[in-house]
């Protein structure tokens, strides 16, 4: 019997991790559909960002209350999961609390610490659920999240609460069984632990058999739940717990005001002005800006997968908050949705088969793009270093340069700049007239 359970356990762990790795490599492939961009400079500054922005969650602390709760969930989840190591080894070896004898007092301290964190995770997640569903913060009831994204957020919070409850219940029943001097539990006396010890009396009236069933069920559900949750992650907004780290490493280090240069256009203009510099084989660029996800850089696509749909960007966006169609969060969600669609298309057909769709128009409309004031509020707010602005500007480039799709007033402004060297219709000769008045 024991060996059967060990084999089932091993299959579950290997299968769970295998599926997870396969999905991650699929996401990596999707991200690499983006155009090349160099973010390898200044590694020391980049590592600093990983520590400050990802580990330290610096941007989250713009709102300290939420930041502290979020930190509990994050620290709780990461640290408690150290305990998985013991669970996995116990499962494979058929042991029970393998580390307890070797660690002695330290073991007790560690589990106590994990239990306190587990309680903090439960409390924090409950507050987060309330913020979304009872208090209904504006950024959480936005139409951006209608449908699956809103459920996704709730599923994540509920799952985290359940996983923590399983952990505490497991410890409580374990202790109850020890108190009753039952079998292998009594042979391995641990506890009472700080939180589950208080829960143990709830179980004292129960039969040993029932307690064993509860303890074992919690143990199995805890580890299977974690494996399942791990595989849910990469299909959900919760992927940020992994991608926040590379996204912080590859954070944009240049000033936010700087737009990406287009060397191809720079050279076109240079060769037009100074034809003697043009190489004989100079070919004009094939297209400009981004119409679909593959025209964006891999950096933009990493952003799309890193977005956790928190909506801080849209809450700060002057367009969103004045009722315009644009929402920077939706820009990121649309980019990810389109990228997933393109990825599936490639997986199915071997290479991308034209599907008559594109990021521009089918996912993001010109009206949204035209509402942006390039104020960088969205970029400033993002806790995980995403730039919705860069995507907006690349799509604008495609609209204007590929299709000459501009509002009349912009065409007039372009004409004025071209002919009068100013966006208004004044003679360039008069530019210094104010000085003579």
């Amino acid at each position: 019997m024991q060996i059967v359970s060990q084999v089932i356990f091993l299959l579950a762990v290997v299968g769970g991790i295998g599926l997870f790795v396969r999905r991650l490599s699929g996401i990596r492939k999707n991200i690499l559909l983006g155009k090349e961009a160099d973010y390898s400079d200044n590694p020391s500054e980049r590592w600093k960002n990983v520590f400050l922005l990802a580990f330290g969650q610096k941007k989250m602390f713009r709102n300290p209350f939420v930041a502290v709760l979020h930190f509990f969930v994050y620290a709780g989840f990461i640290i408690i999961n150290i305990e998985i190591l013991e669970i996995i080894l116990d499962g494979v070896l058929g042991t029970h609390r393998l580390f307890a004898p070797a660690l002695g007092g330290l073991y007790h301290f560690l589990i106590d610490a994990f239990e306190i964190l587990a309680l903090l995770v439960i409390v924090s997640c409950a507050i987060f659920l309330a913020r979304r569903n009872i208090i209904k913060l504006r950024r959480f009831i936005s139409k951006d999240l209608d449908g699956w994204p809103r459920s996704d957020a709730n599923y994540i919070l509920i799952t985290e609460i359940i996983l923590m409850l399983l952990f505490l219940t497991m410890n409580a029943t374990d202790y109850s069984l020890q108190a009753k001097g039952y079998g292998s539990y009594a042979a391995q006396p641990v506890g009472p632990f700080i939180i589950s010890g208080k829960l143990a009396p709830l179980f004292s009236g129960m039969q040993e058999q029932s307690l064993v069933i509860i303890e074992r069920s919690c143990w199995w559900l805890h580890i299977l739940g974690i494996l399942a949750f791990m595989n849910y992650l990469p299909y959900s907004k919760h992927l940020h717990i992994i991608l926040a780290f590379p996204n912080a490493y590859y954070a944009r280090l240049k000033p936010k005001g700087e737009m990406n240069n287009m060397p191809a256009v720079q050279n076109e203009v240079l060769y037009a002005m100074q034809p003697e510099l043009a190489p004989a084989d100079a070919t004009p660029p094939s297209h400009f800006g981004a119409k679909d996800v593959s025209d964006l850089s891999w950096r933009n696509l990493l952003d799309a997968y890193s977005c956790t749909e928190c909506g801080r960007c849209s809450a700060a966006c002057p367009a969103t908050t004045t009722g315009k169609l644009l929402s920077p969060r939706k820009i990121m969600m649309a980019t990810r949705d389109r990228l997933e669609e393109v990825g599936k298309n490639i997986q199915k057909n071997g290479s991308f088969q034209e599907d008559g769709k594109s990021l521009l128009y089918d996912y993001i409309t010109p009206e949204e793009l035209r509402a942006c004031t390039t104020c960088n509020a969205c970029v400033e707010e993002c806790p995980v270093s995403i730039s919705p602005l860069e995507i907006i500007l690349e799509l604008r480039r495609s609209l204007i340069m590929e299709e000459s799709n501009a509002p009349q007033e912009w065409n007039a402004m372009f004409n004025n700049i071209e002919n009068n060297y100013a966006p208004w219709q004044f003679s360039p000769e008069d530019r210094g007239n104010w000085a003579k008045e």
Binding site: K324, L325, L393, S398, W410, I417, R431, G432
Partner: protein, 259 residues
């Protein structure tokens, strides 16, 4: 008002200490011309040897680039960099955050590297160096002033304190709006919005921002960008508050307070 042109200095084989990049708004917009003149008046008073390009200056290309017209931007950038390099310009000051941003961050990759300074930082330096001295009991002493952060100074280039330090030198009471510094709310003009009708929504961006300014109870909104200035003034007019509140550039405030 003494405004030397770069071409004249060049003909006399002279170099200015600094080139004043006036920008399109500062050159042509009637309201912004007043800011330009106030800044020139300061430069004259502190006897800084400066020059302007006059008709040789062209749009930096900022609205074209942000609208998506990279070709037009590159053409303007090429032309301006040719002019600036021809005159061997090393140091530039401008009162426009958009010109400042593009010359500072985007011209270097195109062969135009200069030391560029926004007038808010420039004025702060002159105050710190004691070159600008305020009148005793200046006209803004004790008055409530709120400062509106320009996106292209603030978030774009992390300049939050210099304009505030300039205002503090006026002995004014500086009050902050609900959204300020890195959380400052856009006036609605950036990203080439200045040149088109706003997309449809529930309220105009400049009106929403103006309401925040009115809420402070300040008598003056200080701006450091000609476009913010226009947008906020329009916002005040829409609220029929233009009699109670004024939008002034920090250069105008300093010029009016100087000895």
């Amino acid at each position: 008002m003494n405004v030397p042109f770069m071409s004249e200095l060049f003909a006399r084989q002279e170099n200015p200490d600094i080139l004043f990049w006036v920008g399109c708004a500062g050159s042509f917009d009637q309201r912004a011309q007043k800011i330009t003149k106030a800044f020139v008046s300061i430069l004259n008073k502190v006897q800084i040897k400066f020059a302007i390009l006059g008709k040789e200056e062209a749009c930096t290309g900022d609205p074209a680039r942000r609208a998506g017209n990279e070709f037009l931007f590159q053409m303007m950038a090429y032309q301006n960099i040719q002019t600036l390099n021809h005159y061997g310009i090393k140091k530039i000051v401008t009162a426009c955050p958009h010109c400042f941003n593009i010359i500072k961050n985007e011209y270097p990759a195109l062969g135009g590297s200069y030391e560029i300074i926004h007038h808010s930082v420039f004025l702060q330096q002159l105050i710190d160096e004691g070159k600008i001295r305020m009148k005793e009991g200046g006209s803004f002493k004790g008055k409530k002033i709120t400062y509106h952060d320009s996106c292209y100074l603030g978030r774009a280039n992390n300049i939050y304190e210099a304009p505030r330090k300039v205002l503090e030198a006026l002995d004014a009471e500086l009050v902050e709006m609900k959204h300020c510094r890195s959380r400052g709310m856009c006036c609605g003009a950036g990203g080439a919005q200045m040149w088109k009708e706003e997309e449809k929504g529930s309220i105009r961006i400049n009106q929403k921002r103006t309401l925040e300014a009115i809420e402070t109870g300040a008598g003056i909104v200080a701006a450091a960008c000609p476009y913010c200035n226009t947008m906020l003034m329009d916002g005040l007019k829409s609220q029929e508050k233009e009699g109670e509140m004024d939008v002034l550039d920090i250069a105008e405030l300093v010029n009016a307070s100087m000895e």
